[in-house]
Symmetry: C2
Subunit: 342 residues, 2 copies
């Protein structure tokens, strides 16, 4: 790092204008509305920007242009792969539109999510991707007051007016649980993440219970263990469930990370999957196919969801008509971890 | 979203001061130097900030305080788990210090990384985490001119003066390759990511060749396949290597994602691991223990690396003495995927 007295002066907008032989207004247009400048001029100006190491004064620029070409996303976790693919798709689509994506991870903590939403807006985010609808009304007030376009992904709830792209978590899990019950399973276990503040987790649990009720099973007999999302936590919860006096013949899991942990634990316990116990996941992330046997799980169209969320948010940011919320389809990806009870 | 004419007015610093009964200078201190305000005052002011939905004007605030309590990280990929754990640790440690982390993913594209570094600085990042040392000198000029503290992680190179925390990628891979060769393997394969612009990948490949030379094997006999980091790409590269007329008895991989793909492919091809072919990884991320057999791999202390990177960067940001670069130790995590050739 240079000491203060060795520090070269910070280049200004005027320096860039001088170096590229255009007006400061043109430089500003190149930075804020590049589609309104000829390709040739833009290239020359951007070369000067790079050569001089110019960075726009974010305060002045944001105030002048009201557009930073930066979007934010606040996701619950970066450590496991649940959101990774959808987020990558979201970022790629934004990149194509010249928008930089900045991501914050809230560790499933609502207070931290709120801080991060504020930080991203304070740092000039033009648009925000959020996961699910569960958050304090204050967060929405905050965003609406500032007219920051935002969209919820990983969720579709026809009863909610907020803009969203996702799938019906409840219905998707009901479909999978119905398939499990249809194979003859009567005693079921379920491993879930914390359902407070997580509408997706809550809807999936409800989905299992709905399927049980539909098929004449008592939803109160479902053996439920709540835990955090990691392979190890899934493994531990599975061991607890199987230590019951009359253990279930099928254990459904709220996501693939938990389910993969459960499959590994089954092998450790000397249980064959699916002959001794069936295990299912939710998400169809890449590890679902890595574990042996592969997971039967709900396939979520992560890439499509992320890419379309970006398109919808760009539409809003560009002042076009507000798009409708989008409901995506899921399907059951059938692999070896689910079979009839023996 | 509210229409313009329904939009409530945006609350100002003055509104917060009025609501909490303190001066605007005190509100400003609460936001920018909370440790200089009494807990009681801070709580009252922060409640008013929340109730009113106040967000500091980032331009004015940054100019006044020169501290945004936001750090950035630019990582090559968010889609696979290589950087996830270290990044989570980095974020947790920053969170404890009241700093919000914003993450950008460059998709291993140097031009995009440069854009993201600029965007993070333009958005007011007080400090930056970068992965490895490989980037255009221009990026460093840019950061130094603005005195933005930065640190490289996932790399330790005693020949480089830049601040870093990491491990010796070359030496760690040499140790693993020596163990492979020590078991009697003579024909080796290697699957690597693109080595241009990736000093870690380059050093690991060099490490394998160094071990071969040390043990009297000709490094030119190493069968190398370059690919992208994904399970599928690792699987495809492994199939290509094993389709050689005289296939290797051990295939080392530049990271665990590639190695897990290779193990799955071996099973598809009807090859037993390690009896027919040994496979090793690098990183010891959680999937290393999910695949069957488990991966023998280089264990990297991801959590420690991320947490200490945060501490070092905070030290710099706080104007304390520049810390020394840190070299972390790695070790070989031995699981079932490596055995003697049969």
């Amino acid at each position: 790092m240079l000491k203060k007295d060795e520090m070269p002066s910070i280049p200004t907008l005027e320096d860039v204008a001088r170096a590229s032989g255009v007006s400061t207004a043109t430089v500003s247009r190149c930075l804020n509305a590049p589609d309104r400048v000829s390709e040739k001029t833009r290239k020359r100006v951007m070369k000067a920007v790079q050569d001089l190491g110019y960075a726009p004064n974010f305060g002045a620029q944001a105030l002048a242009a009201k557009r930073t070409n930066t979007f934010g996303a606040v996701i619950p976790t970066i450590e496991n792969a649940i959101f990774a693919r959808g987020l990558q798709a979201f970022g790629e689509e934004l990149h194509r539109a010249g928008v930089t994506l900045l991501v914050a991870s809230s560790s499933y903590d609502p207070a931290r999510e709120e801080e991060q939403i504020r930080a991203l807006v304070a740092r000039g985010a033009d648009g925000l991707l959020l996961i699910g609808h569960d958050r304090h009304e204050r967060c929405y007030d905050f965003l609406e007051r500032r007219q920051i376009p935002h969209i919820a992904a990983w969720v579709y709830d026809s009863g909610c007016d907020r803009l969203a792209i996702g799938f019906d978590n409840r219905e998707a899990m009901t479909a999978l649980a119905s398939e499990v019950i249809g194979l003859g399973h009567r005693r079921l276990g379920y491993i879930t993440a914390e359902i407070v503040g997580n509408d997706r987790a809550r809807a999936r649990l409800e989905g299992v219970k709905a399927a049980m009720a539909e098929h004449g099973l008592d939803p109160d007999t479902l053996i439920v263990r709540g835990t955090e999302y990691s392979f190890q936590e899934g493994a531990d919860a599975f061991a607890e469930i199987m230590a019951q006096p009359n253990p279930p013949t099928a254990v459904l899991c709220g996501n693939d990370v938990l389910a993969v942990g459960a499959v590994k634990q089954a092998l450790n316990l000397g249980l064959r999957v699916p002959q001794d116990v069936s295990i299912t996941g939710f998400d169809d992330i890449s590890v679902a196919d890595i574990v042996t046997p592969g997971l039967t799980t709900v396939h979520v169209p992560h890439w499509e969801m992320g890419a379309r969320a970006a398109q919808m948010l760009l539409q809003l940011r560009n002042g076009e008509d507000r798009p409708d919320s989008v409901r995506l389809d899921t399907y059951i990806a059938r692999r070896g971890s689910l079979g009839p009870p023996s």
